[in-house]
Amino acid sequence: MPNKQETTIDKTNASSNPFKNSRVSILNKIMPILLFLCAIVSVFTTIGIVITLLSETVNFFREIPIFDFLFGTKWSALIEPKQFGILPLLAGTLMITSIAIIVALPIGLASAIYLSEYAPDKVRRIVKPILEVLAGVPTIVYGYFAISIITPIIQFIFPSAGVYNALSAGIAVGIMIIPMICSLSEDAMSAVPRSLRDGAYALGATRFEVALKIVVPAAFSGIVSSAVLAFSRALGETMIVSLAAGSTPTLTFNPLDSIQTMTAYIVQVSLGDIAHGSIEYGSIFAVGMTLFVFTFLLNILAQYISRRFREEY
């Protein structure tokens, strides 16, 4: 607030009560309330998310029985006869997420161990910013990477693979979450006190033995929670799967098939012109709700793990 005002007020008030400055104290009283309102926006965001998802989902379930939604094995929202069994979308999502985790967990963990236990300072100072850059690349760019590089390679190796396939999208999502697993796990490993490493080295352990038997167990909760967070991130990833995995909701276990994830379905519907109040409109919210519940539970789980099993070295 401008200086000028207060100096003039100081003068006018000086005569009445030298210990009271009314304008300043009003500001002092109003600001906390305004700031509180800013802070409460985030709570309203959450409430808004829950209410909108819930109310539209309830509407949706008035037309589609919840049992059919949860256990139906056919999803055909845009083509008659319309069917809304979410299992194919769920299977597609889990397939992508599993491929991503299979790619990212070993690589992310191995990089974290390398950076925290092996890498000389110089290397660490170069590699960590590169990983940060990798984490900051928009997912749409990873989507381009999937269709222009990964898919052709997969098609070269497996000629039966389609233009759109789960494997390509899964690998791209995996590459996207490597930095997340790596940097969160590395944080957890770096937090393991030097003295524990010294204790093991002094017994004649090699660096690998220190990493595997001392550092990884001591940082285990941090590592697990990083994996859970990455899993949740992969679950909600949208653009890569919309571009590379296809839009055919099929219940398949073949990663070379075209599939559809929950997120890709929401995008597909949104790109078309859907009437407010229609069954397709409602299905966005039902699918969104399913996705939200999954990611929300995973995030709570990650927080629980890192808090409950916090290491007391």
Partner: protein
């Protein structure tokens, strides 16, 4: 007493800092040698050179020769893992692993290839007995090592070091974080251990050096000023600086 460790014209640099200057020193076998001197004098640095823990600090450079039972420990002849198996170390702060008491002791032997449960049990028992801790913990070996007191933890760390059957035991101000009673127990333990092990201890406490050691080495600014039988060094030092230090005029 025969010589076990010998340093000849040993120099150590941390990047630009000259931390040890022309150290010449012999350390006798099966005896307690104490390193004393004001902080930053190089006593801990020399100790950490004996099991090559300094290797892990980037920019460390060593010149000269350091032999243990005649073998140059910085030569290709000795793997650093072998060296550290033979030269155990106990640190300033007790640093038990966040594992059970049993697993703490068994960690080293397992590294070095001992798998049989029976043999491990035996090692755990003898090591804990040697460290005078067996009676206190024998009924809860599966309990977390972090649940016992600080003094017990430090004796556990000594037991852990003994479990890989070393010849030399390095103690880096091993009692400085402990209360007087725990300190006394460790000092008594050191007396018991010196028949079997060569012990080198860094201490910030001159009285401790006088109480437990056979030989004392006085360091100042990275140099070894004087070393001698403990009794002689404390009663009749040759160097004026030693006398000033032990009479409390500086440090």
């Amino acid at each position: 007493m025969s010589t076990l460790i010998e340093a000849k014209d040993l120099n150590l640099f941390y990047t630009d800092f000259h931390a040890l200057k022309n150290v010449n020193l012999t350390i006798p076998e099966k005896a307690v040698t104490a390193f004393i001197g004001p902080s930053g004098c190089g006593k801990s640095t020399l100790l950490r050179t004996l099991n090559r823990m300094n290797d892990m600090i980037a920019g460390t450079r060593i010149e000269g020769k350091l032999t243990i039972s005649g073998t140059d420990i910085y030569s290709q002849e000795v793997d650093v893992e072998t060296l550290r198996k033979k030269v155990g170390m106990v640190f300033q702060q007790p640093n038990p692993f966040p594992k059970s008491i049993y697993d703490n002791i068994a960690y080293g032997p397992r590294l070095h290839g001992i798998k049989s449960k029976q043999k491990l049990d035996e090692i755990v028992e003898t090591s804990l007995k040697s460290a005078a801790l067996w009676n206190e913990v024998k009924d809860h070996l599966k309990r977390s090592a972090l649940s016992i007191s600080g003094g017990q933890q430090q004796r556990l760390c000594i037991a852990r070091a003994l479990a890989v059957n070393p010849d030399i035991l390095l103690m880096d101000e091993a009692t400085s974080a402990l209360d007087p009673i725990s300190t006394l127990k460790i000092e008594e333990l050191v007396q018991d251990l010196r028949d079997k092990y060569t012990i080198v201890m860094v201490t910030h406490n001159m009285h401790q050096a006088a109480r437990v050691s056979n030989q004392t080495v006085f360091f100042l600014n990275g140099e070894v000023v004087e070393y001698d039988d403990t009794e002689k060094l404390f009663s009749n030092p040759e160097d004026q600086r030693t006398e000033d230090y032990i009479s409390g005029r500086f440090g």
